[in-house]
Symmetry: C2
Subunit: 249 residues, 2 copies
């Protein structure tokens, strides 16, 4: 080994299943001939972190940020060089977390918007938790790139919330057709692509028809993480994820 | 929250894909109505740990034990109450690791042999790395329960080693028929069950016909871990994994 490998810190558990799906994405998309070619990681899966959406919407007074800071410090103390958070909703707390943290945190929302922008997309639809939708993080970053982020209607958002909270987070498999109906409605309103902007929805991607209509934010994060850890990415099927190393910041 | 939840430490990366598959097993087999019902975990996936089998067989002088101890200390310092190692081969180093470690480590080999013993099995076949087979750990623990552990022939072992090292660890999907041929030969020699005693082989279990012929050591470890973390296990299909909490030590 010529130099110390980068130790990736994963601030996870938000939720747990998508954390491990993300770690699998990293592993299956890293060019490797043996275990030792993979990324060294330390992963905190603090499942008992207070619910992010409930706090953002004012339904709960339990602020998850102090716990997230505690976990970031735990990972930094364990030697992490770089942090990622495989959860879109948690990025509501991104600025507060990055301020409290001495190592860089890759921002899933910023990287996803940049991937859309690089592909020349002007208007996209957001499939996410109500917390992510209402926080306006995707809309704000998109606007800074001159792009428009369209949100589902309240009724459509309720369908997404049911899929995320009452099904995926409870280990139940939703009918993908309900997600696809929301997707179709957003496409009919002029969206060029739909962002799977919740890691629980990312888990459903393999079951969706017309994969080319979606961009999975978790896949974007996986690609950016592999590049940041100086590994060679392989096997990303989405054409938007085939840009090379040159545009990684 | 009435009391501080148990923090599970996972000493992983041996290999990375089976580490995350194990974490998914824990998550999908824990009864949960929200994220917060899942196990709090801290996972070290030190992919660059020296190869265990190469050292055990004397092909390499790089001893993985010091790195494993370093990772165990990292997890303990991060607050872990209990350790698990989702890798059978690494259990060659179990005693040395447990001696160096202030928290208990669940032993995948011991728990697997106990599950077979509880089911009245007298002779089983071991599908594992050459390191696990030659180390004699399964045979030794089985003998202490009055059971016999049958190893594959050298030619059969080479088939298993190819599947583990040249295929699964390189992100390639093997033809399950080759594993099944080794399994059939062991059954013909009087084995009542076959232990999937390598976490890379556990990854193939969903693709195997006659699932009832196998006991997946990683599923045993998942069940024991869920119980040790005081959660309710759900959905284990193997009848050998339906014994209750009472026999967990």
């Amino acid at each position: 080994m010529s130099k110390k490998p980068i130790l990736l810190g994963v601030l996870g558990g938000l939720g747990p299943m998508s954390t491990f799906y993300f770690c699998q994405l990293l592993t299956s998309h890293t060019h490797a001939q043996s275990d030792a070619d993979h990324i060294d990681m330390i992963i905190s899966s603090r499942a008992t972190t207070p619910d992010r959406t409930a706090f953002i919407l004012g339904h709960s007074k339990c602020d998850p940020l102090p716990i997230m800071i505690e976990e970031a410090h735990r990972l930094t103390a364990a030697g992490a060089d770089l942090l990622v958070i495989p959860c879109n909703t948690a990025h509501y707390f991104y600025e507060g977390l990055q301020r409290a943290c001495s190592i860089p945190i890759v921002n899933i929302i910023e990287e996803t918007v940049k991937a859309l922008h690089a592909a020349g997309i002007r208007r996209f639809g957001l499939l996410a938790t109500e917390g992510t939708a209402r926080s306006g993080a995707y809309a704000r970053i998109s606007a800074s790139f001159g792009m428009e982020c369209l949100l589902p209607t309240q009724a459509e958002q309720e369908i997404l919330s049911t899929i995320i909270y009452d099904e995926v987070k409870q280990n139940r498999t939703p009918d993908p057709a309900r997600l696809e109906a929301v997707a179709s409605a957003l496409l009919a309103r002029g969206c060029e692509r739909l962002v799977l902007g919740c890691t629980e929805l990312s888990l459903l991607k393999p079951h969706l028809q017309k994969q080319e209509d979606y961009l999975d934010a978790l896949e974007v994060l996986a690609l950016r993480t592999i590049l940041a850890c100086q590994k060679t990415p392989i096997g990303f099927s989405d054409p938007l994820l085939r840009s090379g190393k040159e545009d990684f910041v």
